[in-house]
Subunit: 403 residues, 4 copies
């Protein structure tokens, strides 16, 4: 009476659109995550620990700075990179976040906005996992509106002196180098904190050990507990001129980095969703109630169908835009917003539905849903909240700004 | 302050995946719908009239039986056909339904399940629009469960005699030929109405003018009012043996036709959704309230973003599966269920949101949303209700039947 | 195996909170609606006709101006009046709208803002149904934001001369008297159309037959088709001073009338919801599919439970606030917004779910859901759209205006 | 420009329906929760500790077995008790759960189903908090379907011998007495585990220290972390005849206890919802973005309005049914299902929306939402999952069982 369940990959018919190499890369990361990360995922979450010991293997798999060409990086295309991130987040959003921050934010910032000397000095070591990076844009009072940041830099001789606090910085406590964005007075010389109008934004590489630079850990998180999250506290922190990123001043540079990372999140979040979905299918097929498996109940099936529809649609969309990205070299920000907003919402909902389908067992870390449910609350909020992406899209679609 | 709005086709980046010919076919149908159908769409709906006078032009455009190869049919691929249906339903679901029933149900049934003589006799004339067909499966007490049908056929010499009533049959009052599905006793000889177990299902071509065959029109519909919908009443209706479809007995044959038609609906419904979306964007950009355009309000933008996301995702999905269909010659029924269920729900929701965004004007036939809103209620229900597709998918995904 | 279904009134346990008289009034209106209105409800909707012939019986039942004390009005309390409106809208929103406009808008405006002479002249005749009234506030370009109205009045001798157009006015084509709100220049003398800042708003009684006053009917409505809806066109329309309402100038007067009417809508809409719910329960208990009644399917039950929960909660809430209204003589506008917004959304959703549960039959006017579904689109939009009430509540709850 | 926000109690107008004593009881519990529990709520959650040191004060406040008359219990009416539970869950669902299990499950079971000796022996000590109780019905493989339990008792002389495992038992690790439900063979004599058909269900009082009785703690919970949750492991556990509850055999007795507790949850969950709502209102009024407070954004207000509407409706409903319960001495199970199902769903949604409104700060235990969000996942599932109550209501409303 019961038949083998149809898997998501059979429903989505996605694999036939992937190259042999794309499938191989996915398989190798999948193997790693399932054998190395998943067995300890619950414990890492519970004990709030990122497994630094896995970084060399991540490097060996080529996932650090994977989309960067050259500098010992893997130079993956967007689909390969997306599949990698999906497999990583099947493990845990913290694992994927580590890789996103290292590659799409810190390394990409240096690659896209740094000098050749900066690239050569940092990128190969970061690709090998010997140097960990972080990316400091968000501040305690400046989340969705980075233009209101208060961190500022002033010239002092040929050096720069930074003051300010960055918050919610993934990898901060374990990073050797932080890409820090700060305001700079237009004439570069005034020592006063600039106001919003009279200044522009520049990027700086701040290295661990610099006097006046601390990275305190954030306590009491109920999400991304396997991430090392902290602040970047800059108190008269003096940086040599060589550590200024030579990119065009303004918000464009950091936002371009975020755009890179966001698209990866659209892939990654579906990995978490799949872990939740598979966990739920297994559970309801096993669990019997009222003389039959839960899987035979219409209300249960409706939840699973909703999840599966969202995941399959999300994957098809992610693949579609990834191919477009590789073809054109870029995506519109609105396309990235569409993907991030939709797929993370799908994933968060899948985690919640899956948690509920597991009944009382759904509150235990022994099963993946509650962990993903909590992680995805962060993913929903970071890299542009759901609402911010609504307004980005709304502005484009109507031609009117409603921020 | 306000900029030109981003169109859905820019957001979806779909066109770059289309061939020149696919775009040309779409353009020609689009031109026809906007110049010939839309100017009278409200009136046709209000007066419950299908514009038979447009059938020759539909034939000339190659949209009747468009996916069938040979027999004077256009032999379009799945994407071309999908784009055609989308443009037609941008006009009205009744227009698209006419074409779906003619081509994907009536003609496809004859093509896939008929004899060479039947094909040669009917298909070219139907492609030219000279013969209109309909498809009789549903009965008054047998909607989602066609196996419970009561129409039956018994042998009488070399003829067949049919009794029963089919209902909700699009094109019935205007069709020259009806494909009618009926139960036949296993030994083909008993004259009694067969029960469910002891019989199988066969298809018959019933021609207008046959004695005992009536097609009364259904009155009081508030949906698909521009469709000619009626019953097929068979009262000792005698059919020559040559009008029996020689296909394998059973439900497989009619369900295969429905599977064809359903995939077309997944494309078509998005056409209705786009008409609603565009109507809403135009309205809120124009309409001013509290000293600004409605388009500048967050609540308005959120609705539009939800609509646009659903439409764009739906199109990307439809294209993905259409390419798979052409590659493999078929789709899994669950893939068709996923597309029909998702895209029709998106369209229905878009029509409702759009109706609301137009405020009081939204209840007028002068604007498209309320018409589409009503039409889509039928589309939601026919060709497998939303819930039936939920259970089709649920059965596949869990391996357990919950019907 | 199947047992008699539990009715909503058993689930809600509401009746034990009603007085004998409240129940009697409800029963008499219920009898009237079911015997006089329902048998012709579908036809009235289809033919766009309001049954003026029923007005005398409505008057006899005491439902015209029912909440007004004196002037031959019934002087009902808020619960009695609410129950009346619920029963009327069980019939059709157009029937309830007629009564709301006559009583809560036109008569209430004269009662609360008129002179003693105006009251004595109009109210008894209106309570007897001999004079029908309407209420002109909304304009073509001024819906949710009445302060932007363009209709204006200027003094001319002791008379007033009105110019402007009101739109979406229920009862307009059949009313003998219209309460019209217009802008008046602060010095009452300038003949120029006043701008928004330099003017205030006054009410006028405009009687049918006055030169320059026309009430063209609105065509092509797909909602409230049994309502007589039209425009009020004022073209140099001269009104005697006696027809100026002597109330305090400003938007306060018309908004107070709307507040009255809105609370009645919160009751009424649940009547439509109940008609839809009962229709669906009857249908799914009767209709068999896959060897059992539809009522035995979990997906069906979930829809019914959602409907029933919303209706029962809505009734309990409406009763709670009606008692508070009678105790204090008023409600906060936010409380009215809460009731209108919530209960109309419940009703609209119930109509949609119910339409879908009836399958193909749900698109026929033979069954109530599609009629209510369409009517409730207007109810959702009029008397403050859903979104406007969101913002009214949001402003109160946060202390910040987001209009 | 900004005004003081309207509080939920002003919107709900509930207090005028409360007696002086009801308000006083609420005030005293509120004081306790805010001064004694809330300051340590985050830490108790993080460290998975129930504050046993607060039990004497809970006893002094009269909240243990509060609804029981006599036996040193407070004999509160249903409204008083409901308000108490709401205030407790404003603190934490674990605090309310402790009180629900002690009073509505363990004490109520002894009160309603125990002998006079059992009552006298246990109830006063439990009311004083000197004896803590728990309630053992759920088993690892028997959640929503208690009739499938496997724990069984056999007679052995005048004693009973119990074998089996209960799971998800709140208070298990700290209870001195457990009310345990077990199957008993119909002839009371066979030593074999009875099958479902041939047995009935009886209640037993199992005291800590009895040989063969263990209460291991459940590890790795991410919800109700301040609850002491565990198993009851019965391995040839011998109970004297005096500890058999003399109630009528069958599931009726334990289900009656659950019905009591469930109604309390409908009140309690709104306490958690209010804590989340207030936290969100405070946050968005404070937090500035794009040059204004978040509270001024339409999307933010819509979320708050949804929360507030749900909470206010839930409270009005809870009060309505509590009064009915006191008047009639009981509620229908369907009425309890309606209240539990609706209010817990409102609360869970409020916690999620509130978490999101707090942005990144929402993932910190420093703010209440994420803690409530997690707790409410259990509350959604226990005492009848959301779906079980859907089916309880569905069965009543349609007369057909769909379990």
């Amino acid at each position: 009476m019961s038949t083998p369940p149809l898997g998501l990959e059979q429903l989505s018919a996605l694999d036939e659109h992937l190259t042999e190499q794309e499938r191989l890369i996915r398989a190798s990361v999948r193997r790693f995550v399932r054998s190395e990360y998943l067995p300890q995922a619950a414990e890492l979450f519970e004990t709030e620990r990122f497994p630094l010991e896995l970084v060399p293997e991540l490097a060996r798999l080529g996932v650090l700075g994977a989309s960067i060409p050259g500098y010992e990086c893997a130079g993956m295309n967007s689909v390969e990179y997306g599949l990698v991130l999906q497999e990583l987040e099947y493990g845990d959003s913290a694992l994927r976040s580590f890789v996103s921050v290292q590659g799409s934010l810190a390394m990409y910032a240096i690659y896209a906005h740094g000098s050749e000397e900066q690239r050569a000095r940092f990128l190969p070591a970061m690709a090998r996992g010997e140097v960990i990076g972080c990316f400091g844009l968000t501040e305690p009072d400046s989340g969705s509106d980075p233009g209101s940041m208060r961190t500022y830099a002033r010239r002092s001789g040929s050096d720069w002196v930074l003051n300010g606090t960055k918050m919610w910085i993934t990898n901060a406590p374990i990073a050797q180098v932080a890409v820090v964005w700060a305001k700079v007075a237009d004439d570069d010389a005034s020592g006063a904190a600039p106001d919003r109008g009279a200044s522009t934004i520049r990027g700086f590489l701040v290295e661990r050990g610099t006097r006046g630079f601390e990275t305190p850990r954030t306590r009491g998180k109920m999400s991304l507990r396997a991430s090392e999250t902290g602040e970047l506290v800059l108190d008269e922190c003096r940086i040599p001129a060589a550590n200024l990123l030579p990119s065009k001043p303004g918000l464009g540079a950091p936002l371009a980095c975020l755009n890179q990372a966001r698209f990866g999140i659209a892939w990654g979040a579906l990995g978490a969703a799949k872990a939740c979905y598979e966990s739920a299918v297994d559970y309801v097929r096993e669990r019997r109630q009222f003389d039959g498996p839960l899987a035979r109940k219409q209300l249960v099936q409706e939840r699973l169908v909703t999840m599966a529809s969202g995941i399959v649609q999300g994957e098809i969309m992610a693949l579609h835009y990834a191919r477009a990205k590789d073809r054109h070299g870029r995506l519109r920000p609105e396309q990235v917003s569409l993907c991030k907003r939709t797929n993370v919402a799908v994933a968060l909902d899948a985690a919640r539905q899956s948690r509920a389908l597991l009944g009382a067992n759904g509150i235990l870390l022994d099963y993946p849903p509650v962990r993903h449910l909590l992680n995805l609350e962060s993913v929903f909020t970071y890299e542009g909240t759901h609402e911010i992406h609504t307004l980005v899209l709304g502005k484009a679609l109507t031609g009117e700004s409603a921020f």
